[in-house]
Subunit: 331 residues, 2 copies
Protein backbone atom coordinates (compact mmCIF):
# COMPACT_ATOMS: atom_id res chain seq x y z
CA UNK A 1 0.00 0.00 0.00
CA UNK A 2 1.99 2.98 -1.28
CA UNK A 3 0.67 6.55 -1.10
CA UNK A 4 1.86 9.38 -3.36
CA UNK A 5 1.93 12.85 -1.84
CA UNK A 6 1.81 16.04 -3.88
CA UNK A 7 2.11 18.90 -1.44
CA UNK A 8 3.68 17.69 1.76
CA UNK A 9 6.92 19.26 2.98
CA UNK A 10 9.23 19.07 5.96
CA UNK A 11 9.13 22.42 7.76
CA UNK A 12 11.84 21.49 10.25
CA UNK A 13 12.94 18.90 12.81
CA UNK A 14 14.24 18.85 16.39
CA UNK A 15 16.26 16.24 18.28
CA UNK A 16 17.05 15.95 21.98
CA UNK A 17 19.48 13.33 23.23
CA UNK A 18 21.30 12.10 26.28
CA UNK A 19 24.70 10.78 27.40
CA UNK A 20 25.24 7.84 25.10
CA UNK A 21 23.96 9.49 21.93
CA UNK A 22 25.91 12.69 22.61
CA UNK A 23 29.01 10.51 22.85
CA UNK A 24 28.34 9.01 19.42
CA UNK A 25 29.47 10.03 15.93
CA UNK A 26 26.41 12.21 15.20
CA UNK A 27 26.68 14.41 18.30
CA UNK A 28 27.13 17.68 16.43
CA UNK A 29 23.79 17.29 14.66
CA UNK A 30 21.55 17.21 17.75
CA UNK A 31 19.71 20.28 19.01
CA UNK A 32 20.00 19.54 22.72
CA UNK A 33 21.99 17.08 24.82
CA UNK A 34 21.37 16.13 28.44
CA UNK A 35 24.30 14.72 30.38
CA UNK A 36 22.09 12.99 32.95
CA UNK A 37 19.60 10.15 32.38
CA UNK A 38 17.15 11.84 34.76
CA UNK A 39 17.35 15.17 32.86
CA UNK A 40 17.00 16.86 36.27
CA UNK A 41 13.60 15.21 36.83
CA UNK A 42 12.52 13.00 39.71
CA UNK A 43 11.93 9.87 37.67
CA UNK A 44 13.18 8.34 34.44
CA UNK A 45 9.60 8.43 33.14
CA UNK A 46 9.49 12.19 33.66
CA UNK A 47 12.91 12.44 31.97
CA UNK A 48 11.53 10.81 28.83
CA UNK A 49 8.52 13.14 28.89
CA UNK A 50 10.91 16.09 29.28
CA UNK A 51 12.98 15.14 26.23
CA UNK A 52 9.93 14.64 24.02
CA UNK A 53 8.41 17.92 25.19
CA UNK A 54 11.75 19.68 24.66
CA UNK A 55 11.84 18.45 21.07
CA UNK A 56 8.38 19.91 20.39
CA UNK A 57 9.29 23.22 22.02
CA UNK A 58 12.58 23.47 20.11
CA UNK A 59 10.72 22.71 16.90
CA UNK A 60 8.22 25.49 17.58
CA UNK A 61 11.08 27.89 18.30
CA UNK A 62 12.97 26.92 15.15
CA UNK A 63 9.88 27.46 13.01
CA UNK A 64 8.79 30.64 14.85
CA UNK A 65 5.35 29.11 15.27
CA UNK A 66 3.19 29.06 18.35
CA UNK A 67 1.27 26.03 19.54
CA UNK A 68 -1.96 27.61 18.26
CA UNK A 69 -0.50 27.50 14.75
CA UNK A 70 -0.27 23.70 14.83
CA UNK A 71 -3.27 21.71 13.59
CA UNK A 72 -2.40 18.29 14.99
CA UNK A 73 0.13 16.33 17.03
CA UNK A 74 0.72 12.65 16.29
CA UNK A 75 2.91 10.77 18.74
CA UNK A 76 3.77 7.39 20.15
CA UNK A 77 6.46 5.67 22.18
CA UNK A 78 7.33 2.41 23.95
CA UNK A 79 6.10 3.16 27.46
CA UNK A 80 2.95 1.30 28.48
CA UNK A 81 -0.12 3.17 27.21
CA UNK A 82 2.26 5.62 25.44
CA UNK A 83 2.22 7.91 28.47
CA UNK A 84 5.47 9.64 27.47
CA UNK A 85 3.73 10.94 24.35
CA UNK A 86 0.52 11.99 26.06
CA UNK A 87 2.14 13.76 29.02
CA UNK A 88 4.64 15.49 26.73
CA UNK A 89 2.00 16.60 24.20
CA UNK A 90 -0.67 17.82 26.60
CA UNK A 91 0.81 21.33 26.91
CA UNK A 92 0.12 21.83 23.20
CA UNK A 93 -3.66 21.88 23.76
CA UNK A 94 -4.04 20.80 20.16
CA UNK A 95 -5.84 17.84 18.52
CA UNK A 96 -3.90 14.66 19.23
CA UNK A 97 -3.65 11.17 17.75
CA UNK A 98 -1.78 8.53 19.74
CA UNK A 99 -0.01 5.84 17.72
CA UNK A 100 1.83 2.62 18.42
CA UNK A 101 3.88 0.55 16.04
CA UNK A 102 6.88 0.08 18.36
CA UNK A 103 10.08 1.38 16.73
CA UNK A 104 8.23 1.93 13.43
CA UNK A 105 6.07 4.61 15.07
CA UNK A 106 7.92 7.68 13.74
CA UNK A 107 7.21 6.86 10.09
CA UNK A 108 3.68 5.68 10.96
CA UNK A 109 3.09 9.21 12.26
CA UNK A 110 4.68 10.80 9.17
CA UNK A 111 2.51 8.68 6.87
CA UNK A 112 -0.75 9.56 8.65
CA UNK A 113 0.23 13.23 8.99
CA UNK A 114 1.27 13.46 5.34
CA UNK A 115 -1.98 11.81 4.22
CA UNK A 116 -4.02 14.35 6.18
CA UNK A 117 -2.04 17.27 4.68
CA UNK A 118 -2.21 15.79 1.18
CA UNK A 119 -5.98 15.28 1.60
CA UNK A 120 -6.28 18.95 2.64
CA UNK A 121 -7.66 18.01 6.06
CA UNK A 122 -4.91 19.89 7.91
CA UNK A 123 -2.25 22.46 7.01
CA UNK A 124 0.49 21.16 9.25
CA UNK A 125 1.29 18.74 12.05
CA UNK A 126 4.01 17.69 14.45
CA UNK A 127 5.02 14.01 14.56
CA UNK A 128 6.89 13.06 17.72
CA UNK A 129 8.43 10.05 19.35
CA UNK A 130 10.72 9.20 22.25
CA UNK A 131 12.43 6.40 24.08
CA UNK A 132 14.62 6.13 27.14
CA UNK A 133 17.12 3.39 27.79
CA UNK A 134 16.14 3.07 31.45
CA UNK A 135 12.34 3.22 31.04
CA UNK A 136 12.67 0.48 28.43
CA UNK A 137 15.00 -1.64 30.55
CA UNK A 138 12.64 -1.27 33.51
CA UNK A 139 9.58 -2.15 31.48
CA UNK A 140 10.78 -4.76 29.00
CA UNK A 141 13.81 -6.38 30.57
CA UNK A 142 15.34 -7.25 33.89
CA UNK A 143 16.11 -4.48 36.36
CA UNK A 144 19.46 -2.94 35.49
CA UNK A 145 20.61 -3.56 39.06
CA UNK A 146 20.26 -7.28 38.40
CA UNK A 147 23.21 -7.00 36.03
CA UNK A 148 22.14 -9.85 33.77
CA UNK A 149 24.53 -10.15 30.83
CA UNK A 150 23.11 -9.81 27.35
CA UNK A 151 24.15 -11.54 24.14
CA UNK A 152 25.98 -9.55 21.45
CA UNK A 153 22.85 -9.61 19.30
CA UNK A 154 20.93 -7.47 21.81
CA UNK A 155 20.36 -3.82 20.98
CA UNK A 156 20.49 -0.78 23.24
CA UNK A 157 17.43 1.45 23.53
CA UNK A 158 18.32 5.01 22.55
CA UNK A 159 17.46 7.89 24.89
CA UNK A 160 15.90 11.03 23.52
CA UNK A 161 12.94 12.83 22.03
CA UNK A 162 12.53 13.78 18.37
CA UNK A 163 9.94 15.72 16.40
CA UNK A 164 9.33 16.66 12.79
CA UNK A 165 6.93 19.30 11.49
CA UNK A 166 5.15 18.59 8.22
CA UNK A 167 3.39 21.32 6.27
CA UNK A 168 1.64 22.14 3.00
CA UNK A 169 3.94 25.16 2.58
CA UNK A 170 6.76 24.57 0.13
CA UNK A 171 10.19 23.91 1.62
CA UNK A 172 13.49 22.35 0.50
CA UNK A 173 12.53 18.80 1.38
CA UNK A 174 9.29 17.07 0.52
CA UNK A 175 7.59 13.88 1.67
CA UNK A 176 7.19 12.28 -1.70
CA UNK A 177 5.58 8.90 -1.08
CA UNK A 178 5.20 6.25 1.60
CA UNK A 179 4.47 2.57 2.06
CA UNK A 180 2.45 1.22 4.99
CA UNK A 181 3.84 -2.12 6.09
CA UNK A 182 2.18 -5.40 6.94
CA UNK A 183 2.55 -7.41 10.12
CA UNK A 184 5.18 -10.08 9.49
CA UNK A 185 5.55 -13.33 11.45
CA UNK A 186 8.85 -15.10 10.82
CA UNK A 187 8.49 -17.33 13.91
CA UNK A 188 11.08 -15.36 15.87
CA UNK A 189 10.99 -15.58 19.67
CA UNK A 190 14.23 -14.00 20.96
CA UNK A 191 13.77 -10.49 22.42
CA UNK A 192 17.57 -10.27 22.56
CA UNK A 193 17.82 -10.50 18.78
CA UNK A 194 15.49 -7.84 17.45
CA UNK A 195 17.51 -7.54 14.24
CA UNK A 196 16.42 -11.04 13.27
CA UNK A 197 12.83 -10.25 14.25
CA UNK A 198 12.58 -7.04 12.23
CA UNK A 199 14.73 -7.67 9.14
CA UNK A 200 11.93 -9.67 7.40
CA UNK A 201 9.50 -6.76 7.91
CA UNK A 202 12.03 -4.30 6.46
CA UNK A 203 12.49 -6.60 3.46
CA UNK A 204 8.74 -7.01 2.95
CA UNK A 205 8.11 -3.26 3.02
CA UNK A 206 11.10 -2.42 0.79
CA UNK A 207 10.12 -5.00 -1.82
CA UNK A 208 6.48 -3.84 -1.73
CA UNK A 209 7.62 -0.24 -2.04
CA UNK A 210 9.81 -0.95 -5.08
CA UNK A 211 7.03 -2.96 -6.74
CA UNK A 212 4.34 -0.33 -6.06
CA UNK A 213 6.51 2.54 -7.31
CA UNK A 214 8.17 0.57 -10.13
CA UNK A 215 11.52 1.76 -8.81
CA UNK A 216 14.81 0.07 -8.07
CA UNK A 217 17.05 0.80 -5.10
CA UNK A 218 19.20 2.87 -7.47
CA UNK A 219 16.42 5.46 -7.44
CA UNK A 220 17.48 6.27 -3.88
CA UNK A 221 20.77 7.84 -2.80
CA UNK A 222 20.41 6.09 0.52
CA UNK A 223 18.09 3.55 2.12
CA UNK A 224 17.95 3.62 5.91
CA UNK A 225 16.47 1.02 8.21
CA UNK A 226 15.41 1.99 11.70
CA UNK A 227 17.13 -0.13 14.26
CA UNK A 228 18.14 -3.53 12.91
CA UNK A 229 21.58 -3.17 14.44
CA UNK A 230 24.81 -4.81 13.30
CA UNK A 231 23.45 -8.35 12.89
CA UNK A 232 20.01 -7.41 11.61
CA UNK A 233 21.61 -5.21 8.96
CA UNK A 234 23.60 -8.20 7.72
CA UNK A 235 20.55 -10.46 7.81
CA UNK A 236 18.57 -7.95 5.72
CA UNK A 237 21.44 -7.59 3.24
CA UNK A 238 21.84 -11.37 2.84
CA UNK A 239 18.09 -12.00 2.65
CA UNK A 240 17.41 -9.36 -0.02
CA UNK A 241 20.35 -10.61 -2.09
CA UNK A 242 19.34 -14.28 -1.96
CA UNK A 243 15.55 -13.90 -2.21
CA UNK A 244 15.14 -10.85 -4.46
CA UNK A 245 18.57 -10.20 -5.96
CA UNK A 246 18.47 -6.72 -4.43
CA UNK A 247 22.02 -5.67 -3.58
CA UNK A 248 22.43 -3.44 -0.56
CA UNK A 249 25.94 -2.13 0.03
CA UNK A 250 27.92 0.47 1.99
CA UNK A 251 27.05 3.18 -0.49
CA UNK A 252 23.29 2.74 -0.79
CA UNK A 253 22.27 1.38 2.61
CA UNK A 254 22.77 1.96 6.31
CA UNK A 255 20.97 1.30 9.58
CA UNK A 256 20.23 4.08 12.08
CA UNK A 257 20.94 1.75 14.98
CA UNK A 258 24.47 1.29 13.68
CA UNK A 259 24.93 4.98 12.83
CA UNK A 260 23.81 6.45 16.15
CA UNK A 261 26.69 4.99 18.14
CA UNK A 262 30.31 4.07 17.57
CA UNK A 263 29.94 0.32 17.92
CA UNK A 264 33.68 -0.27 18.30
CA UNK A 265 34.17 2.31 21.02
CA UNK A 266 30.78 2.27 22.77
CA UNK A 267 30.79 -1.40 23.74
CA UNK A 268 27.71 -0.99 25.97
CA UNK A 269 25.42 -0.62 22.96
CA UNK A 270 26.21 -4.18 21.82
CA UNK A 271 24.63 -4.63 18.35
CA UNK A 272 23.57 -0.96 18.14
CA UNK A 273 20.73 1.39 18.98
CA UNK A 274 17.03 0.62 19.06
CA UNK A 275 13.82 2.18 20.36
CA UNK A 276 11.50 4.44 18.36
CA UNK A 277 13.70 7.50 18.89
CA UNK A 278 16.80 5.75 17.51
CA UNK A 279 15.83 6.14 13.86
CA UNK A 280 14.14 9.50 14.51
CA UNK A 281 17.33 10.90 16.05
CA UNK A 282 19.36 9.91 12.99
CA UNK A 283 16.77 10.78 10.35
CA UNK A 284 15.71 14.11 11.86
CA UNK A 285 19.29 15.31 12.47
CA UNK A 286 22.06 14.00 10.23
CA UNK A 287 19.92 12.74 7.33
CA UNK A 288 17.73 15.85 7.28
CA UNK A 289 20.91 17.97 7.31
CA UNK A 290 22.32 16.02 4.37
CA UNK A 291 19.09 16.56 2.43
CA UNK A 292 18.96 20.28 3.17
CA UNK A 293 22.58 20.59 2.02
CA UNK A 294 21.75 18.57 -1.09
CA UNK A 295 24.37 15.93 -0.29
CA UNK A 296 21.51 13.47 -0.57
CA UNK A 297 18.71 13.97 -3.09
CA UNK A 298 16.30 11.19 -2.27
CA UNK A 299 16.27 8.82 0.68
CA UNK A 300 13.97 6.02 1.82
CA UNK A 301 13.46 5.85 5.56
CA UNK A 302 12.27 2.41 6.65
CA UNK A 303 11.47 2.28 10.36
CA UNK A 304 11.18 -1.18 11.85
CA UNK A 305 9.11 -2.25 14.85
CA UNK A 306 8.95 -5.43 16.92
CA UNK A 307 5.39 -6.11 18.03
CA UNK A 308 5.36 -7.83 21.42
CA UNK A 309 5.05 -7.19 25.14
CA UNK A 310 6.79 -8.74 28.15
CA UNK A 311 3.60 -10.79 28.70
CA UNK A 312 3.62 -12.14 25.15
CA UNK A 313 7.30 -13.11 25.50
CA UNK A 314 6.65 -14.88 28.82
CA UNK A 315 3.80 -16.74 27.12
CA UNK A 316 6.20 -17.83 24.35
CA UNK A 317 4.32 -16.13 21.54
CA UNK A 318 6.18 -15.31 18.35
CA UNK A 319 7.50 -11.76 18.14
CA UNK A 320 5.81 -10.12 15.16
CA UNK A 321 7.23 -7.15 13.29
CA UNK A 322 6.27 -4.31 10.96
CA UNK A 323 8.07 -1.68 8.89
CA UNK A 324 6.86 1.56 7.33
CA UNK A 325 8.75 3.39 4.57
CA UNK A 326 8.79 7.09 3.68
CA UNK A 327 10.59 8.70 0.75
CA UNK A 328 12.03 12.17 1.35
CA UNK A 329 13.22 14.15 -1.65
CA UNK A 330 15.08 17.40 -2.16
CA UNK A 331 13.20 19.84 -4.41
Amino acid sequence: MTFKFNNVYVENTATVTNLYEANGPLKKYFDKKYDDLYCGEKSIEKAEVRMLKDSIQILLKKTSLGKDDIDLVLAGDLTNQITSSTYASSFMNTPFLGLYNACATSMEAVIIGSSLIDGKKINNCICSTSSHNMTSEKQFRNPTEYGGPKPRTATFTATGGASIMLTNKKSDVRVECATIGRIVDFAQTDPNHMGAVMAPAAADTLVTHLQDTKRSIDDYDLILTGDLGFFGKQILTDYLKSEYNIVLNKKNYNDCGVMLYDLKRQKEVLAGGSGPVCSALVNYSYIYDMLKNKKLKRVLLITTGALFSPTSVFQKENILSIAHAVSLEVI
Copy 2:
Protein backbone atom coordinates in the same frame (compact mmCIF):
# COMPACT_ATOMS: atom_id res chain seq x y z
CA MET B 1 -10.28 20.15 14.37
CA THR B 2 -13.34 18.88 12.48
CA PHE B 3 -13.07 17.00 9.18
CA LYS B 4 -15.90 16.79 6.62
CA PHE B 5 -16.11 13.55 4.63
CA ASN B 6 -17.81 13.30 1.25
CA ASN B 7 -17.63 9.67 0.23
CA VAL B 8 -17.10 7.51 3.28
CA TYR B 9 -19.64 4.83 4.14
CA VAL B 10 -20.09 2.05 6.65
CA GLU B 11 -20.02 -1.27 4.79
CA ASN B 12 -20.85 -3.34 7.85
CA THR B 13 -19.88 -4.09 11.46
CA ALA B 14 -19.24 -7.15 13.63
CA THR B 15 -19.36 -7.60 17.41
CA VAL B 16 -18.16 -10.47 19.57
CA THR B 17 -18.92 -10.52 23.29
CA ASN B 18 -18.67 -12.64 26.38
CA LEU B 19 -20.64 -13.61 29.50
CA TYR B 20 -21.44 -10.27 31.05
CA GLU B 21 -22.31 -8.45 27.83
CA ALA B 22 -24.45 -11.34 26.58
CA ASN B 23 -26.37 -11.08 29.84
CA GLY B 24 -27.05 -7.39 29.23
CA PRO B 25 -29.94 -5.59 27.52
CA LEU B 26 -28.28 -5.49 24.06
CA LYS B 27 -27.62 -9.24 23.82
CA LYS B 28 -29.74 -9.82 20.72
CA TYR B 29 -27.68 -7.37 18.68
CA PHE B 30 -24.28 -9.12 18.98
CA ASP B 31 -22.94 -11.41 16.26
CA LYS B 32 -21.21 -13.90 18.54
CA LYS B 33 -21.25 -14.59 22.27
CA TYR B 34 -18.75 -16.65 24.23
CA ASP B 35 -19.90 -18.08 27.55
CA ASP B 36 -16.37 -18.49 28.91
CA LEU B 37 -13.82 -15.76 29.64
CA TYR B 38 -11.06 -17.94 28.17
CA CYS B 39 -12.99 -18.48 24.91
CA GLY B 40 -11.52 -21.99 24.89
CA GLU B 41 -7.97 -20.58 24.77
CA LYS B 42 -5.10 -21.22 27.16
CA SER B 43 -4.77 -17.67 28.43
CA ILE B 44 -6.98 -14.63 28.84
CA GLU B 45 -4.62 -12.74 26.51
CA LYS B 46 -5.27 -15.31 23.78
CA ALA B 47 -9.00 -15.04 24.51
CA GLU B 48 -8.92 -11.32 23.78
CA VAL B 49 -6.98 -11.94 20.56
CA ARG B 50 -9.55 -14.58 19.61
CA MET B 51 -12.51 -12.22 20.04
CA LEU B 52 -10.88 -9.43 18.03
CA LYS B 53 -9.89 -11.85 15.26
CA ASP B 54 -13.41 -13.34 15.28
CA SER B 55 -14.87 -9.89 14.77
CA ILE B 56 -12.69 -9.32 11.70
CA GLN B 57 -13.53 -12.75 10.29
CA ILE B 58 -17.27 -12.27 10.86
CA LEU B 59 -17.04 -8.87 9.19
CA LEU B 60 -15.35 -10.39 6.14
CA LYS B 61 -18.01 -13.08 5.98
CA LYS B 62 -20.87 -10.57 6.29
CA THR B 63 -19.43 -8.45 3.49
CA SER B 64 -18.47 -11.44 1.31
CA LEU B 65 -15.00 -9.98 1.02
CA GLY B 66 -11.68 -11.77 1.30
CA LYS B 67 -8.73 -10.40 3.20
CA ASP B 68 -7.04 -9.51 -0.10
CA ASP B 69 -9.92 -7.12 -0.78
CA ILE B 70 -9.09 -5.03 2.29
CA ASP B 71 -6.66 -2.13 1.86
CA LEU B 72 -5.82 -1.44 5.48
CA VAL B 73 -6.45 -2.52 9.07
CA LEU B 74 -6.35 0.06 11.87
CA ALA B 75 -6.51 -1.30 15.40
CA GLY B 76 -5.68 -0.64 19.02
CA ASP B 77 -6.53 -1.89 22.49
CA LEU B 78 -5.56 -1.56 26.16
CA THR B 79 -3.03 -4.38 26.47
CA ASN B 80 0.57 -3.26 26.83
CA GLN B 81 2.06 -2.58 23.37
CA ILE B 82 -1.43 -3.28 21.88
CA THR B 83 -0.52 -6.93 21.37
CA SER B 84 -4.18 -8.01 21.19
CA SER B 85 -4.56 -5.92 18.05
CA THR B 86 -1.31 -7.02 16.42
CA TYR B 87 -1.72 -10.76 17.08
CA ALA B 88 -5.37 -10.65 15.98
CA SER B 89 -4.66 -8.67 12.79
CA SER B 90 -1.58 -10.54 11.59
CA PHE B 91 -3.58 -13.21 9.72
CA MET B 92 -4.91 -10.47 7.44
CA ASN B 93 -1.49 -9.95 5.84
CA THR B 94 -2.61 -6.45 4.95
CA PRO B 95 -1.13 -2.99 5.68
CA PHE B 96 -1.57 -2.19 9.35
CA LEU B 97 -1.60 0.93 11.54
CA GLY B 98 -1.52 0.46 15.30
CA LEU B 99 -3.28 3.13 17.37
CA TYR B 100 -3.65 4.00 21.01
CA ASN B 101 -5.97 6.50 22.59
CA ALA B 102 -7.26 4.21 25.36
CA CYS B 103 -11.05 3.88 25.20
CA ALA B 104 -11.24 6.57 22.50
CA THR B 105 -9.33 4.30 20.09
CA SER B 106 -12.31 3.05 18.06
CA MET B 107 -13.26 6.53 16.80
CA GLU B 108 -9.59 7.46 16.40
CA ALA B 109 -9.38 4.55 13.94
CA VAL B 110 -12.60 5.58 12.19
CA ILE B 111 -11.34 9.16 11.81
CA ILE B 112 -7.98 8.12 10.31
CA GLY B 113 -9.59 5.46 8.11
CA SER B 114 -12.27 7.87 6.89
CA SER B 115 -9.66 10.53 6.12
CA LEU B 116 -7.66 8.06 4.02
CA ILE B 117 -10.79 7.00 2.10
CA ASP B 118 -11.96 10.60 1.67
CA GLY B 119 -8.48 11.55 0.43
CA LYS B 120 -8.66 8.68 -2.10
CA LYS B 121 -5.62 6.95 -0.59
CA ILE B 122 -7.53 3.73 0.06
CA ASN B 123 -10.85 2.22 -1.01
CA ASN B 124 -11.74 0.56 2.24
CA CYS B 125 -10.44 -0.38 5.68
CA ILE B 126 -11.29 -2.32 8.80
CA CYS B 127 -11.13 -0.53 12.16
CA SER B 128 -10.94 -2.88 15.13
CA THR B 129 -10.66 -2.79 18.87
CA SER B 130 -10.97 -5.11 21.83
CA SER B 131 -10.80 -5.31 25.58
CA HIS B 132 -11.10 -8.08 28.14
CA ASN B 133 -12.18 -7.63 31.72
CA MET B 134 -9.53 -10.00 33.03
CA THR B 135 -6.56 -8.79 30.93
CA SER B 136 -7.38 -5.27 32.09
CA GLU B 137 -7.78 -6.27 35.74
CA LYS B 138 -4.48 -8.15 35.56
CA GLN B 139 -2.65 -5.28 33.92
CA PHE B 140 -4.17 -2.15 35.46
CA ARG B 141 -5.56 -3.20 38.81
CA ASN B 142 -5.02 -5.65 41.63
CA PRO B 143 -5.21 -9.36 40.90
CA THR B 144 -8.85 -10.46 40.96
CA GLU B 145 -7.94 -13.14 43.50
CA TYR B 146 -6.99 -10.37 45.92
CA GLY B 147 -10.67 -9.47 46.14
CA GLY B 148 -10.11 -5.79 46.87
CA PRO B 149 -13.45 -3.97 46.99
CA LYS B 150 -14.02 -1.11 44.56
CA PRO B 151 -15.97 2.08 45.03
CA ARG B 152 -19.29 2.51 43.24
CA THR B 153 -17.68 5.02 40.88
CA ALA B 154 -15.43 2.33 39.37
CA THR B 155 -16.29 0.98 35.94
CA PHE B 156 -16.10 -2.58 34.62
CA THR B 157 -13.97 -3.30 31.56
CA ALA B 158 -16.11 -4.85 28.82
CA THR B 159 -15.02 -8.11 27.20
CA GLY B 160 -15.18 -8.50 23.45
CA GLY B 161 -13.90 -7.64 20.01
CA ALA B 162 -15.54 -5.26 17.55
CA SER B 163 -14.82 -4.20 13.98
CA ILE B 164 -16.27 -1.82 11.44
CA MET B 165 -15.58 -1.74 7.72
CA LEU B 166 -15.47 1.65 6.01
CA THR B 167 -15.65 2.00 2.25
CA ASN B 168 -15.97 4.48 -0.60
CA LYS B 169 -18.89 2.45 -1.99
CA LYS B 170 -22.25 3.95 -1.23
CA SER B 171 -24.25 2.30 1.54
CA ASP B 172 -27.15 3.20 3.87
CA VAL B 173 -24.98 4.87 6.50
CA ARG B 174 -22.24 7.38 5.92
CA VAL B 175 -19.44 8.80 8.02
CA GLU B 176 -20.31 12.43 7.65
CA CYS B 177 -17.78 14.34 9.74
CA ALA B 178 -15.49 13.94 12.72
CA THR B 179 -13.70 15.92 15.41
CA ILE B 180 -10.25 14.98 16.72
CA GLY B 181 -10.02 15.71 20.42
CA ARG B 182 -7.37 17.43 22.50
CA ILE B 183 -5.64 16.06 25.57
CA VAL B 184 -7.44 17.41 28.61
CA ASP B 185 -5.98 17.70 32.12
CA PHE B 186 -8.58 18.36 34.80
CA ALA B 187 -6.22 17.40 37.65
CA GLN B 188 -7.98 14.06 38.20
CA THR B 189 -6.02 11.29 39.92
CA ASP B 190 -8.51 8.54 40.81
CA PRO B 191 -8.36 5.48 38.51
CA ASN B 192 -11.53 4.27 40.24
CA HIS B 193 -13.49 7.24 38.94
CA MET B 194 -12.88 7.33 35.20
CA GLY B 195 -16.17 9.08 34.59
CA ALA B 196 -14.82 12.15 36.34
CA VAL B 197 -11.54 11.86 34.42
CA MET B 198 -13.13 11.61 30.97
CA ALA B 199 -16.25 13.80 31.20
CA PRO B 200 -14.22 17.02 30.65
CA ALA B 201 -12.70 15.57 27.46
CA ALA B 202 -16.14 14.59 26.17
CA ALA B 203 -17.38 18.12 26.90
CA ASP B 204 -14.38 19.73 25.20
CA THR B 205 -14.77 17.64 22.05
CA LEU B 206 -18.57 18.09 21.88
CA VAL B 207 -18.33 21.87 22.30
CA THR B 208 -15.54 22.07 19.69
CA HIS B 209 -17.59 19.90 17.35
CA LEU B 210 -20.68 22.08 17.65
CA GLN B 211 -18.63 25.26 17.16
CA ASP B 212 -16.73 23.88 14.14
CA THR B 213 -19.90 22.61 12.45
CA LYS B 214 -22.13 25.51 13.57
CA ARG B 215 -24.61 22.93 14.82
CA SER B 216 -26.59 22.50 18.01
CA ILE B 217 -27.22 19.21 19.76
CA ASP B 218 -30.69 19.25 18.21
CA ASP B 219 -29.02 18.43 14.90
CA TYR B 220 -28.41 14.95 16.29
CA ASP B 221 -31.06 12.35 17.13
CA LEU B 222 -28.70 10.92 19.69
CA ILE B 223 -25.34 11.77 21.21
CA LEU B 224 -23.43 8.86 22.69
CA THR B 225 -20.40 9.00 24.96
CA GLY B 226 -18.08 6.01 25.17
CA ASP B 227 -17.76 4.83 28.71
CA LEU B 228 -18.36 7.59 31.24
CA GLY B 229 -20.63 5.32 33.28
CA PHE B 230 -23.46 6.31 35.59
CA PHE B 231 -21.60 9.04 37.47
CA GLY B 232 -19.57 10.38 34.55
CA LYS B 233 -22.76 10.72 32.52
CA GLN B 234 -24.24 12.90 35.26
CA ILE B 235 -21.04 14.94 35.55
CA LEU B 236 -21.03 15.61 31.80
CA THR B 237 -24.72 16.56 31.86
CA ASP B 238 -24.26 18.95 34.77
CA TYR B 239 -21.06 20.45 33.40
CA LEU B 240 -22.45 21.13 29.91
CA LYS B 241 -25.57 22.71 31.41
CA SER B 242 -23.72 25.00 33.80
CA GLU B 243 -20.77 25.95 31.58
CA TYR B 244 -22.28 26.02 28.09
CA ASN B 245 -26.06 25.91 28.60
CA ILE B 246 -26.15 22.73 26.52
CA VAL B 247 -28.99 20.53 27.77
CA LEU B 248 -28.45 16.78 27.53
CA ASN B 249 -31.46 14.66 28.47
CA LYS B 250 -32.84 11.11 28.24
CA LYS B 251 -34.01 11.65 24.68
CA ASN B 252 -30.89 13.14 23.10
CA TYR B 253 -28.06 11.57 25.08
CA ASN B 254 -26.84 8.27 26.44
CA ASP B 255 -23.58 6.61 27.45
CA CYS B 256 -22.49 3.26 26.02
CA GLY B 257 -21.09 2.20 29.40
CA VAL B 258 -24.56 2.56 30.89
CA MET B 259 -26.31 0.93 27.90
CA LEU B 260 -24.17 -2.20 27.65
CA TYR B 261 -25.23 -3.63 31.01
CA ASP B 262 -28.33 -3.58 33.20
CA LEU B 263 -26.87 -1.55 36.06
CA LYS B 264 -29.66 -2.47 38.47
CA ARG B 265 -29.44 -6.21 37.87
CA GLN B 266 -25.74 -6.64 37.00
CA LYS B 267 -24.31 -5.25 40.25
CA GLU B 268 -20.79 -6.43 39.40
CA VAL B 269 -20.41 -3.73 36.74
CA LEU B 270 -20.69 -0.96 39.36
CA ALA B 271 -20.92 2.38 37.49
CA GLY B 272 -21.08 0.67 34.08
CA GLY B 273 -18.91 -0.62 31.27
CA SER B 274 -15.57 0.73 30.11
CA GLY B 275 -12.66 -0.36 27.93
CA PRO B 276 -12.26 0.47 24.23
CA VAL B 277 -14.63 -2.30 23.15
CA CYS B 278 -17.44 -1.02 25.40
CA SER B 279 -18.49 1.82 23.10
CA ALA B 280 -17.63 -0.20 19.98
CA LEU B 281 -19.93 -3.04 21.08
CA VAL B 282 -22.84 -0.64 21.53
CA ASN B 283 -22.17 1.56 18.50
CA TYR B 284 -21.42 -1.28 16.06
CA SER B 285 -24.44 -3.38 17.11
CA TYR B 286 -27.50 -1.59 18.51
CA ILE B 287 -26.77 1.93 17.22
CA TYR B 288 -25.77 0.71 13.75
CA ASP B 289 -28.96 -1.38 13.65
CA MET B 290 -31.05 1.67 14.61
CA LEU B 291 -29.41 3.67 11.82
CA LYS B 292 -29.92 0.96 9.21
CA ASN B 293 -33.58 0.73 10.21
CA LYS B 294 -33.83 4.51 10.06
CA LYS B 295 -34.98 4.76 13.68
CA LEU B 296 -32.08 7.16 14.08
CA LYS B 297 -31.08 9.53 11.28
CA ARG B 298 -27.93 11.16 12.62
CA VAL B 299 -25.87 10.27 15.67
CA LEU B 300 -22.69 11.64 17.21
CA LEU B 301 -20.40 8.99 18.68
CA ILE B 302 -17.98 10.47 21.21
CA THR B 303 -15.51 7.91 22.49
CA THR B 304 -13.66 8.85 25.65
CA GLY B 305 -10.20 7.69 26.74
CA ALA B 306 -8.25 8.01 29.99
CA LEU B 307 -4.56 8.48 29.28
CA PHE B 308 -2.47 6.88 32.01
CA SER B 309 -0.58 3.72 32.93
CA PRO B 310 -0.18 1.87 36.24
CA THR B 311 3.28 3.46 36.51
CA SER B 312 1.91 6.99 36.07
CA VAL B 313 -0.75 6.33 38.72
CA PHE B 314 1.84 4.96 41.17
CA GLN B 315 3.89 8.09 40.51
CA LYS B 316 0.84 10.24 41.34
CA GLU B 317 0.63 11.90 37.94
CA ASN B 318 -2.68 13.40 36.87
CA ILE B 319 -4.80 11.14 34.68
CA LEU B 320 -5.26 12.91 31.33
CA SER B 321 -8.11 12.24 28.95
CA ILE B 322 -9.16 12.62 25.33
CA ALA B 323 -12.34 12.21 23.29
CA HIS B 324 -12.91 11.84 19.56
CA ALA B 325 -16.30 12.40 17.88
CA VAL B 326 -17.71 10.91 14.68
CA SER B 327 -21.03 11.76 13.07
CA LEU B 328 -22.86 8.90 11.34
CA GLU B 329 -25.81 9.72 9.12
CA VAL B 330 -28.47 7.75 7.30
CA ILE B 331 -28.60 8.55 3.59
